[in-house]
Amino acid sequence: MKNQRLPYWLTLGVAIVFLFMHAPLLVLVLFSFNDSKFSMEWKGFTTKWYERLAERQDILDGLYSSLTVALGSTAIATVLGTLMALALARHQFRGRRAMEALLYVPIVTPEIVVGISLLILFMAAHVPLGLGSITVAHVAFNISFVAVVVHARLQGMERNLEEAAMILGADEITAFFRVTVPQLWPGILSGAMLAFTMSFDDYVITSFVAGTDAATLPMVVYAMVKKNIEPSVNAISTVVLIATTILIFAADRAGREKPLTAEKAPVE
């Protein structure tokens, strides 16, 4: 797929599609610095909308709730998902195909269905709604995503190094923590990053299981969007955008690094 140049009309068409995909967000960011409350006219540069954000307690609380939920649910989902991926990639057992099918159910189920079905469970079981119930819900949809990402990485991984370690006298536990985990680390990290972003961004599921007292950042943003008041919405959106962009770069770097010292050692 190379050598020949693309036809002129195709390049133009593709450029327009890229514009459609990115221009709306650029406009949003640009107008978060506009010194005018209502008008779409450019009235000069200001950072006052950002200053307003810092004064709002609900936004700071929302950010704190979101980080708590995202960190907690990512940690649990990453461990559980990685273990499931290990079982699926490394072991033969009865019911394997059913297990793989089960892993895909959360991925294809619409978010709103996940949200209301969990609400039904929590209400019937008298589980108090709040940050705890949100975390439980986020783990439930994130396990599958972690398992699928780690499973893909495991399939491309050879077992030579583990076998070598065991021949050299390591038992299974040592081989797992000193060889398998470092080798698998980029996969685990990308799974965790995916889980973190999905948890941090989720509005639909969260809104159903949050109850009346807890509010994550997307819930605060949603309320602001619905009221549609001032450019503060643009400012908070820009903050969320920048936070996720930093996360992608971090995930990308983490995914590339290979912390396994054996590979870095010079071959004699």
Binding site: V17, F38, L80, I112, L118
Partner: protein, 293 residues
């Protein structure tokens, strides 16, 4: 023998047990917080409504019967049509983009990054960005008025155009990535062979490139169709009260309308459509693979 060695030997002698020990924590979580809630929701969809929220005990088919009411039937049909329309537009826009990236030479990585970027960005923020452009006093209306194309701002939000544009804007990356993946794997030798054998570029595209990218096209279509069918935020933010899809109907039953059984039934109508799409995908994929061999 130390505890550690006893532990290892126990699992070494029972490989099945070891696999299930690894699976158990995640499996229990998925059963408790995924399968059981879905089963409960299925049960609720057959029960009479309790006016204070929740359900009364009993059995009724009335919740599903209501979908024959033209009012609700229209919502289901409309949602399906929007999902199909969104998938078709994404395919039309996404294929050329994937094709251009696959041939993008040294810009390839940067272009892939541009496709990945919205994929990772908050969906809510992206829908707000669309709303910001489209609202009555938004940039599109203002630009058109300044240019003298229109006299007064016209209403773009709460129209099918707004919802469909929002859906395409939201899910286009899901279409581009799988098509790109299958185009990238395409063997250049096959294209050269076609040229050597006298195929013109257009024929070469339709007889070689397009058929070989079919797995990506099918996967991309499913990845767009499913979330479009289950979408709630897009129509909520861009459609207002006028553009109601099944997702909004479900949400409404669990919040203001307080009719949980009907909401559960609506969810299962949605799930049935999704499972239908997945089944169709598996059929087509298997047929495609069988043809390849």
């Amino acid at each position: 023998m130390t505890a550690r060695r006893r532990f290892l030997r126990f699992f070494h002698e029972r490989p099945q047990f070891k696999a299930w020990a690894l699976l158990a924590p995640g499996l229990i979580w998925l059963v408790l917080f995924f399968l059981i809630p879905l089963t409960m929701m299925f049960g609720y969809s057959f029960m009479p409504r309790n006016v204070y929220g929740g359900v009364d005990f009993g059995f009724t088919l009335e919740n599903y019967g209501r979908f024959f009411d033209p009012l609700y039937l229209k919502i289901v049909v409309k949602t399906t049509l929007y999902a199909i329309g969104c998938t078709a537009i994404c395919l039309l826009l996404g294929f050329p983009v994937a094709y251009a990236i696959a041939r993008g030479g040294r810009f390839r990585n940067f272009l892939i990054f541009l496709i990945m970027l919205p994929f990772w960005t908050s969906f809510l923020v992206r829908m707000y960005a669309m709303m910001f452009l489209m609202r009555d006093s938004g940039l599109i209306n203002k630009t058109l008025m300044d240019a003298g194309v229109i006299g007064t701002g016209f209403e773009m939000l709460s129209t099918p155009f707004a919802v469909l544009t929002g859906l395409v804007f939201g899910f286009l990356p899901f279409m581009v990535l799988p098509i790109y993946a299958s185009l990238e794997k395409l063997d250049h030798a096959l294209l050269e062979a076609a040229s050597v054998l006298g195929a013109r570029p257009a024929k070469r595209f339709f007889r070689v490139t397009l058929p070989l990218s079919l797995p990506g096209v099918i996967a991309g279509s499913l990845l767009v169709f499913i979330p479009a069918l289950g979408s709630f935020l897009t129509s909520d933010v861009l459609g207002g009260a006028k553009e109601i899809l099944v997702g909004n109907l479900v949400q409404n039953q669990f919040t203001s309308a307080r009719d949980w059984p009907f909401g559960s039934a609506a969810s299962f109508v949605m799930m049935t459509l999704v499972l239908g799409a997945v089944t169709l995908y598996l059929r087509v994929r298997d047929a495609d693979e069988a043809m390849g061999k």
